[in-house]
């Protein structure tokens, strides 16, 4: 089955002026099957948000993009804005980071979703309002609350409204960028359950972008770990936790406290490399606890390993060293 959404060697550069460039995304490739949930995980600055914004064509003027974004096999990036626009929101929808704070404060929630429907020619007038009522109920907001303004909603409700807006045009892929980061743990649980239900009921594929590993472990089937603009490991969440093939993945899990966990909690020293300079060797090497001589000179490529996994680490090539 061909993937629903595929990113093929996606690169993004930001122009910093004075001839300098920030290579924010460095050759990202991933596939999303229909109905699948893929987590894109990484810490601040790793390029995960930039990656998804690039696939929706939502980058600023200072950005240049290379690579392909295939939606059902069709490269939607090739024709620039004109080839992306018909798919934005109707096939690929996004709940932005902090979307709950980006709702228009002077428009009622209902009218904002109606606007989305009318803009994309899905419905108008009474039909639109009916549809909005359905959507609001689907996300757990009582229909009659739709005529209220965003500031009358709590944070969790606003996030639900943002999700409703994203689903308004029946997309097949939902991208959620840090959907629960600013929310309390109980509300987070509600939203995650909502995403779970919606994806099942509407047959959506979900691309979840977050720094929160446990959230990915709970909601997604597969995950891709990003570091310094590239994917360093990809595979099922189970494999990533129980059998990581990249030191960063392993250390990231080890640095995440667990409610009943017992192991030693680690901290990864140092910081990610600057992306406005080219890096010699493996970008993670300065912070890695298993680096050896090859790591300083040769950059590891993302290679396929057994069992539908990929990892970019020399340790996977050297049988004796992998302990």
């Amino acid at each position: 089955m061909s993937p629903l959404l595929e990113l093929d060697e996606l690169h993004v550069w930001f122009d910093l002026g004075e001839g300098r460039e920030l290579h924010a995304v460095q050759g990202v490739s991933l596939q999303l099957e229909p109905g699948q949930r893929l987590g894109l995980v990484g810490e601040s600055g790793c390029g995960k948000t930039t990656t998804v914004l690039a696939s929706l064509g939502l980058l600023p003027q200072t950005a240049s993009v290379a690579g392909r974004v295939l939606l059902n096999g069709e490269d939607i990036l090739a024709g620039g804005e004109d080839s992306i626009r018909p798919h934005r929101w109707t096939d690929l929808a996004i709940v932005f980071q902090g979307a709950m704070n980006a709702l228009n404060p002077v428009q009622t929630v209902e009218s904002q979703i109606v606007e989305a429907l009318e803009l994309h020619g899905r419905a108008s007038g009474r039909m639109a309002r009916l549809r909005v009522g359905e959507l609001l109920e689907a996300v757990g907001i009582p229909r009659d609350r739709g005529t209220r303004f965003p500031h009358e909603f709590s944070g969790g409700m606003r996030q639900r409204a943002a999700i409703a807006m994203a689903l308004s045009c029946d997309p097949s892929v939902l991208v959620a960028d840090e959907p629960t980061t600013a929310l309390d743990v109980m509300v987070q649980a509600q939203i995650l359950e909502l995403l779970d239900t919606l994806c099942r009921d509407f047959g959506l594929a979900l691309l979840l972008v977050t720094h929160d590993l446990p959230v990915v472990a709970q909601l997604c089937d597969r995950a891709a770990v990003m570091y310094a603009g590239e994917i360093v490991e990809q595979g099922s969440v189970d494999a990533l936790f129980h059998d990581p093939r990249h030191p960063y993945t392993r250390l990231l899990f080890a640095a995440t406290p667990d409610l009943h966990g017992n192991g030693a909690l680690v901290s990864i020293p140092g910081s990610p490399p600057r992306l406005d300079r080219s890096v010699e060797g493996c970008p993670f090497q300065p912070r890695c606890d298993r680096a050896f001589d090859r790591c300083t000179v040769q950059r590891p490529l993302l290679r396929e390993l057994d069992g539908e996994r990929e990892a970019a680490c020399h340790l996977n090539d050297v049988p004796a060293v992998t302990a």
Partner: protein, 318 residues
């Protein structure tokens, strides 16, 4: 509770965030409007300061006929008393600038104090000070000056005080707004939590953040002060014993320079005032703009990213 930890790494140079230190100087160097403004002011101030030495003629000495035409010896002609215009302008500048700076100083001191006190202490202090500010805002300037001149006589000192008293209100409001926002910053609250007294917090943490705005506001206020002084002198309320640019215009006006066609007696002083005000506005405006916390968040413009041909990862061998 065994927790394995390693040393934090050495400092990695992050992108240097443009710090607010020296932002005034940076602005002057980088923005053309600021450079021009600063340049104009520099030239004017230097000429005014050095007037006693570089003015070609004495400003009280008649060197030719009344309203003499411009010539090589007198590029801007002569005024109603036969005095060389160029020298008159240079000397006139001195008074105009002195009044402008002095009045601005008065206004800054009052406005700055009121603004900082109102913004920092908030509550009742803020209310009281802002009501006072509102009252002063409402006073019409020219009638007040006429009254002061009428009652206490027109002297330079009175002019400075009057202008200063009228101009401090806008400074107070601007400073108050900035102080209010700085006061809410975490490091200010932290300093208070550490036990720092009010004076320490204000001097060390609040004022440095407010200073660039104060400078911008000062420069802009100088423009207004000079304009006010010129207007007052033109209306005959200025100090009769001192020559300011406004007085020069007033003299020319009174002595029928227009009907005589002696444009050189009226236009140059007016133009000079306009140029000084322009210089102040350019400089002050540029600094204010530079201080605007413009959001660096990339604007999601959906139509203009650039596509590049796909390049390979390079010849890395596996």
């Amino acid at each position: 509770m065994s927790v394995a930890v390693r040393q934090p790494g050495p400092v990695i140079e992050s992108e240097p965030i443009r710090s607010r230190r020296g932002i005034v100087w940076q602005t002057i160097k980088q923005r053309p409007s600021a450079t021009i403004g600063a340049g104009i002011l520099l030239v004017v101030v230097v000429c005014a300061v050095l007037a006693p030495w570089i003015a070609p003629y004495d400003p009280h000495e008649q060197v030719g006929p009344v309203f003499g035409h411009p010539s090589w010896k007198h590029p801007l002609g002569l005024d109603d008393g036969g005095i060389d215009m160029v020298s008159l302008l240079m000397w006139g500048c001195r008074i105009s600038l002195v009044v402008g700076f002095a009045a601005t100083f008065v206004s800054m001191v009052i406005g700055g104090t009121v603004g900082v006190a109102a913004g920092y202490f908030g509550g009742r202090t803020d209310n009281v000070l802002m009501r006072i500010t509102d009252y002063f805002l409402v006073i019409p300037d020219v009638p007040l000056m006429i009254i002061v001149a009428a009652i206490w006589g027109p002297s330079l000192f009175h002019i400075v005080i009057v202008i200063g008293i009228l101009l401090w209100t806008s400074t107070a409001r601007v400073i108050r707004a900035q102080v209010k926002s700085v006061r809410e910053r975490v490091y200010v609250k932290r300093a208070r939590a550490l036990g720092a007294g009010h004076s320490r917090v204000i001097l060390r943490h609040v004022l440095p953040q407010v200073a660039p705005l104060l400078i911008a506001n000062t420069v802009l206020t100088i423009a207004v002060a000079i304009f006010d002084e010129t207007a007052l002198a033109f209306l005959g309320l200025g100090d009769p014993s001192r020559i300011s640019l406004g007085k020069v215009i007033e003299n020319a006006f009174q002595r029928a320079a227009i009907s005589t066609g002696a444009w050189w007696a009226i236009v140059p002083p007016g133009a000079l005032v306009a140029v000084i005000i322009l210089g102040c506005s350019l400089l002050g405006g540029a600094i204010e703009d530079a201080l605007n916390p413009r959001l660096r968040v990339a604007h999601l413009s959906a139509r203009s990213f650039k596509l590049r041909p796909l390049v390979g990862r390079g010849p890395e061998a596996v």
